[in-house]
C-alpha cells in the first residue's frame, strides 16, 4: 500500500503553530504523506485539500478554545462535499474552560469526529490508531476533477 495522505491543520482563527510543526515532522517520519495547511484553516480549506490530494484522513487541531464553534457541522460538510468515508480526527484544547476529557470526547464524537485527542496524549499511539482506522475504511472513489 502507498503511504496514506493525511491533511493537517489548525482550524478557525487559531494561530498555535508549534504543535502543528511537531505533528508534521512526526507523521512524516511515521511514513504518512503529510499535507500541512498550517494555522488558521477553514473547514472548506481542509476539505478542498483532502479532495485535491485524495487524502485518507483529516487531522484538525484547535488549541485556543473556539474548537466547539469552529468544528460545528464539519462532518456534515465532508459528506456534502463527497467525503463520506474520510477519517476525521480532532485534538487539542477543544473547549473554553477545564472540562473532563470524557465530556469533551463525547461532544466531539457526537459531532462526527472518529477520535478525539488531548495535548498530552501519546503521539505513537495516535499514529497506530490512525493506521488502523485508515485501513478499516474503503478509500474514496476517485472522481475526475474538471480542469
Amino acid at each position: 500500500m502507498n503511504a496514506p495522505t493525511i491533511v493537517l491543520g489548525v482550524i478557525g482563527a487559531d494561530c498555535h503553530s508549534v504543535g502543528n510543526k511537531i505533528l508534521d515532522a512526526f507523521f512524516n517520519e511515521k511514513g504518512f504523506r503529510v499535507v500541512n495547511l498550517g494555522v488558521m484553516v477553514s473547514q472548506d480549506e481542509f476539505i478542498d485539500a483532502a479532495i485535491e490530494t485524495g487524502a485518507a484522513a483529516i487531522l484538525v487541531s484547535s488549541l485556543y478554545g473556539h474548537g466547539e464553534i469552529d468544528c460545528e457541522g464539519f462532518r456534515g460538510r465532508c459528506v456534502e462535499r463527497g467525503l463520506e468515508q474520510i477519517v476525521l480526527y480532532v485534538g487539542g484544547n477543544l473547549v473554553v474552560g477545564k472540562t473532563p476529557h470524557e465530556a469533551v470526547a463525547e461532544k466531539f464524537s457526537a459531532m462526527g469526529f472518529d477520535r478525539v485527542f488531548f495535548p498530552n496524549d501519546d503521539l505513537e499511539k495516535a499514529a497506530r490508531l490512525l493506521e488502523e482506522d485508515i485501513r478499516a475504511r474503503p478509500r474514496e472513489p476517485v472522481t475526475e476533477r474538471p480542469a
Binding site: 485556543y64 478554545g65 464553534i69
Partner: protein, 481 residues
C-alpha cells in the same frame, strides 16, 4: 535627531476608514475620549503604576483574562482584583476580534448568551464598543490593559482607548509573526504606526498610554537575543510616535542564570539603543512572563512552574510578572484557578522582595553572550532601514537577519533552530541567516555538542521535540526516554 512622528493630519485622515470598518467605530469621538480619560484617577493609570513599581523595586502581578459578555467580564476582573490580589488587570481579547473577524465574534457573543457560559476565549471589545469598554474600566479599581495578538489593531485601539484603558499590548512584529499566517510585515508595521501615533496623541494631551511590545513571541525556545532585538525595535517605533511609557517583555526560558541575564540585558540594552537614537525622558519598565510553553495537567506541578517563574521574576529585578494558572494545560482558566495562580505568585514574589538580585559568574557570562548577540543583530537591522526603523525591521526579516522559531507566519524564514544545552540554557543549533559572529555561533554549537555527548546521541530535531514536551512531562531538558 530626525523627527519620525507621523504628521497629525495623516493620522486624522486615516481615521474615518478605520472607524467605519465596524458600526461601533462611530462611537469614537477623540475630544470626548480625552475628556473621559481626564476623569481617570492616577491610581488607575497604568504608566503611574509601572513607574511606582520601578521606583519601589516591587514586582507587580498581572493575570490574563477575558470572557465574551460584559457583566461576566466585570465579575471576572473584580474577582481577580479582590481574591487574586492582582496589582494590574488585563482584558484579553478573543481570537476572532484579533483577526478583525467581528461577525464571528458577534456569533460567539450570541452563542455565549444562549449557552450561559463564554464560548469565546476573550473579550470582544470592538463588538461591545466604547460604552461597553467604559463599563468594564469603570467597574474596577486597578489599571487595566488591553492584551491581545492583533496584527491590525487600529480599530481595537481607537475603541479601547476611548473606552478608558490606559495600556495597550503588542507591536507590528510581535503581534504579526507569532499571531497570524500571511500578513506582510510592512502592512502590520504601518498599522501599528497608527496605533503608536494614536497612543502618542493621548500622551501629548496629558493622558499617558503605556505600551508593551509582546516579548515572548512564539513562547517556544526563543533565544533571548531574538526576543530582545524585536522588543527594542518595537520600543523605538513607539518612542518615535510619541509614546513615553514603555514596558519591554521577556518569556521565561527555564535556566535561571540565562533568565536573570536576559532581564538585566533587556533593560540595559534598551536604554542604550533608545539613547543612541536620541530619546530621553521616557519611562522604561520590564515584564517577565512565566513559562509560556506547555504545562502538565497535574495542578500541583503547574503551581511549581508558576512559583518558579515568580521567583525568577523577583530575583531578576523585573517590574511586573504575567501569571499563569493551574489550568494552563487545559486551556482557558476559571476565575478561581486564575486567582490561585495570582496568589501563589504573590506569596513567592513578596517573600523574595527584600532579597538582593542574583548576579553569579554564570549570570555575568550569559549577560555577555546576550549583549554580543544583540549587538550582532540590531545595528545591521537599523542600517538596513537607513533611518527608517520599520523599513529596517521588514528588510531584516526578509533577509533572515531576524528570524523567529516555530512561528505561524510565512514572513519569517523559520530557519533558526534552537534547543537546550546540557544545563537547560536555550542555544542556537542552526542560526539560519541570523548573522551571529563566528565565535558566538561556535559557542552555541559547542554547548549543544556537550549535551549530545552527555545523552549519547547526535544533535537532531528529536531533541527539539523532546525539549518542547519536557516541561509538561516534568523536566526542563528533553532527555531521551
Amino acid at each position: 535627531m530626525r523627527d519620525k512622528k507621523m504628521p497629525l493630519a495623516q493620522l486624522l485622515a486615516a481615521r474615518p476608514a478605520v472607524l467605519s470598518s465596524w458600526p461601533t467605530g462611530a462611537e469614537v469621538d477623540l475630544d470626548e475620549a480625552f475628556a473621559w480619560q481626564a476623569k481617570i484617577p492616577a491610581a488607575k493609570r497604568f504608566s503611574t503604576a509601572m513607574r511606582a513599581a520601578r521606583d519601589a523595586r516591587r514586582v507587580l502581578t498581572q493575570p490574563r483574562a477575558g470572557v465574551a459578555l460584559i457583566d461576566e467580564h466585570i465579575r471576572l476582573l473584580k474577582y481577580l482584583e479582590t481574591e487574586g490580589e492582582a496589582d494590574l488587570l488585563p482584558t484579553t481579547i478573543d481570537a476572532y476580534t484579533r483577526q478583525n473577524r467581528y461577525e464571528e465574534a458577534a456569533r460567539g457573543i450570541e452563542k455565549s448568551v444562549n449557552a450561559g457560559t463564554s464560548l469565546l476565549n476573550g473579550f470582544p471589545a470592538v463588538n461591545h464598543g466604547v460604552a461597553g469598554c467604559r463599563r468594564v474600566t469603570d467597574a474596577v479599581s486597578r489599571p487595566v490593559q488591553v492584551r491581545h495578538g492583533t496584527p491590525d489593531a487600529r480599530l481595537l485601539a481607537e475603541i479601547t482607548l476611548a473606552g478608558g484603558f490606559t495600556s495597550f499590548e503588542g507591536g507590528g512584529i510581535s503581534y504579526n509573526i507569532p499571531y497570524t499566517k500571511n500578513v506582510p510585515l510592512a502592512k502590520s508595521l504601518q498599522d501599528w504606526k497608527y496605533v503608536d501615533r494614536l497612543c502618542g496623541l493621548y500622551e501629548e494631551r496629558g493622558f499617558p498610554i503605556n505600551r508593551e511590545p509582546f516579548g515572548p513571541l512564539t513562547g517556544t525556545l526563543v533565544p533571548p537575543c531574538i526576543g530582545h532585538a524585536v522588543a527594542i525595535l518595537e520600543g523605538l517605533l513607539a518612542l518615535e510616535q510619541g509614546v513615553r511609557s514603555i514596558t519591554l517583555g521577556y518569556g521565561q526560558g527555564g535556566n535561571m542564570a540565562q533568565d536573570i541575564a536576559a532581564i538585566a540585558t533587556l533593560r540595559e540594552l534598551a536604554d542604550e539603543y533608545f539613547q543612541d537614537a536620541g530619546f530621553s525622558g521616557y519611562e522604561l519598565s520590564i515584564v517577565f512572563h512565566q513559562w509560556m510553553g506547555g504545562f502538565p495537567e497535574d495542578e500541583s506541578r503547574a503551581f511549581s512552574i508558576i512559583c518558579w517563574g515568580a521567583a525568577v521574576a523577583a530575583l531578576s529585578g523585573a517590574d511586573k510578572v504575567i501569571v499563569k494558572t493551574p489550568h494552563e494545560a487545559m486551556g482557558i482558566p476559571t476565575k478561581e484557578a486564575n486567582a490561585q495562580g495570582l496568589r501563589a505568585s504573590r506569596q513567592t514574589v513578596d517573600m523574595l522582595a527584600d532579597q538582593p538580585r542574583i548576579e553569579t559568574p554564570q549570570v555575568l557570562r550569559e549577560k555577555e553572550i546576550i549583549r554580543r548577540e544583540v549587538d550582532c543583530l540590531l545595528p545591521r537591522v537599523l542600517a538596513l532601514g537607513s533611518g527608517d526603523t520599520a523599513a529596517g525591521a521588514a528588510a531584516a526579516f526578509e533577509a533572515g537577519i531576524l528570524d523567529v522559531p516555530f512561528a505561524p507566519s510565512v514572513h519569517t524564514r523559520g530557519k533558526i533552530l534552537p534547543m537546550r544545552d546540557n544545563e537547560g540554557c536555550i542555544r542556537i543549533f542552526n542560526p539560519g541567516a541570523v548573522p551571529l559572529d563566528d565565535d558566538i555561533a561556535a559557542l552555541h554549537r559547542e554547548k549543544l555538542a556537550e549535551r549530545a555527548r552527555a545523552e549519547g546521541r547526535s544533535v537532531s530535531f528529536q531533541m527539539v521535540t523532546d525539549d518542547i514536551y519536557a516541561v509538561s512531562k516534568g523536566r526542563l531538558v528533553g532527555r531521551p526516554r
